[in-house]
Symmetry: C2
């Protein structure tokens, strides 16, 4: 159900989260779904895109750096981040970015 996010005209912000999984499942899928749903109801949330093959890439889009900071420090999200480090991820990189330009193509439009 992950589609291309219908983000507004730039500028806006994004978090690019790139990760390598351990082979520990132990609630990972449920937590990933829970965090996607929780992110989606935060103030300033604009959308999320996600895919995993040899690496996982999740890009979430936000109205402001303030909205990103609030989501980063959300208590349930902090607990998920701790579990992520402890068991689900062998490595990850989080990049905070400002979206400056956006180009779209859709064959149906």
């Amino acid at each position: 159900m992950s589609l291309i996010s219908n983000t507004p005209k730039p500028p806006y912000y994004a978090v690019i989260f790139t990760s390598l999984r351990t082979n520990i499942e132990d609630g990972y899928g449920e937590m990933a779904n829970e965090m996607m749903a929780l992110a989606a109801i935060q103030p300033g949330f604009l959308g999320v895109e996600s895919a995993r093959e040899s690496i996982g890439i999740t890009v979430s889009y936000w109205e402001s750096l303030e909205a990103i900071k609030n989501w980063k420090s959300n208590p349930a999200h902090l607990q998920a981040q701790k579990l992520g480090k402890d068991k689900w991820y062998s490595a990850y990189t989080t990049r905070i970015v400002k979206v400056e330009k956006e180009y779209r193509f859709n064959e149906l439009l």
Copy 2:
């Protein structure tokens, strides 16, 4: 073989390319590999991360907006972009972003 890119200290730039595929193969895999290899030898290239499930996400990292502009107008890449619109993608979004902060975790370090 796609791993987390070992990018430098910010600021640097990135292109987030999110796409939905048609069901036409017709050289797509070869072209995708060819473009990844060609991007990697362009001036200012810093790395690329890619995964596809229901959507594809490819994030390429660059030293400058100039490097991104040069890659966008590379003749072989222009031809690939045209074929992408004509047959391989039903929709895509390209976002040009400035990476402002980066955080890393690696359980081995």
